[in-house]
């Protein structure tokens, strides 16, 4: 199943500058494993060593945060769009 993945600026050095890539998989974990095959280094920027989503990374399936769905096990279908959204914060 081919899923469109939106890549944010901080990760585009790993996708040769592409802002969108395609990946195969039936859930978020599988898609990230597939991304890692084609774009080595991407997985560790998204996931902790135990495979959980990093604290400062958000993944949206269409318009929903996967943390409010089944997290990394959230199922995907063909027309889905996955967006990787970095946490944006700062201050004094």
């Amino acid at each position: 199943m081919a899923i469109k993945i939106r890549i944010p600026t901080p990760l585009r050095k790993l996708t040769n500058g592409a802002d969108e890539v395609m990946a195969e998989g039936g859930n978020i974990t599988e898609v990230i494993e597939d991304l890692e095959k084609n774009y080595p280094g991407l997985k560790e920027r998204i996931c902790e060593s135990d495979g959980k989503l990093r604290r400062f990374v958000n993944i949206y399936l269409n318009d929903e945060d996967i943390r409010f769905k089944k997290n990394m096990e959230t199922e995907l279908k063909d027309s889905d769009e996955v967006s990787i959204i970095p946490a944006i914060a700062g201050g004094l």
């Binding site: 600026t9 901080p10 959204i85 946490a87 944006i88 914060a89 201050g91 004094l92």
Partner: protein, 149 residues
């Protein structure tokens, strides 16, 4: 990309965008404002518009900001329909300099431009833009150029 680190890279924006950031910073004082820079990178980085974002760090709005990722996802999608991209962010430092703080660096993301607005006593506002490309690099200043295109 700077040449031997001597020349600053630059970020260009229309006068209206520049003034919108200043107005948002003034209106939010003494709290921090935040927003999204929407534009494109050609030879130079160009901002076409800014979108105000809600500072969701309501408990520490005077010295911290957080942009809601849901709002950012929405802004990114709208930008893409216009052939544009999220190229960075802005936020204000009430009564503090327009330089990145340690918190800004710790929470910053590589490749984005970060415009910081210093607001003194709710009136005087100055803007500077900062960027780092690699996770282990410090912020470097980008020259802000204001002009119409």
């Amino acid at each position: 990309m700077s040449f031997l680190g001597i020349f600053k890279s630059s970020i260009i924006m229309p006068r209206g965008v520049y003034e919108e950031i200043i107005n948002h910073a003034r209106e939010s004082y003494p709290e921090e404002c935040c927003g999204v820079l929407i534009g494109a990178t050609y030879k130079d980085k160009r901002v076409f518009e800014v979108q105000r974002a809600k500072n969701t760090n309501t408990e520490r709005a005077r010295d911290r900001y957080i942009i809601d990722p849901r709002e950012l996802n929405f802004i990114d999608k709208v930008a893409r329909t216009q052939g544009l991209d999220v190229i960075g962010f802005y936020h204000s430092h009430p009564d503090h300099p327009d330089k990145p703080s340690q918190t800004d660096r710790e929470l910053g993301q590589p490749g984005y431009s970060y415009i910081i607005a210093s607001v003194k006593k709710g009136k005087d506002v100055s803007l500077r833009s900062w960027i780092f490309e690699e996770a282990d690099e410090p912020f470097k200043e980008e020259k802000i150029k204001v002009g119409n295109y």
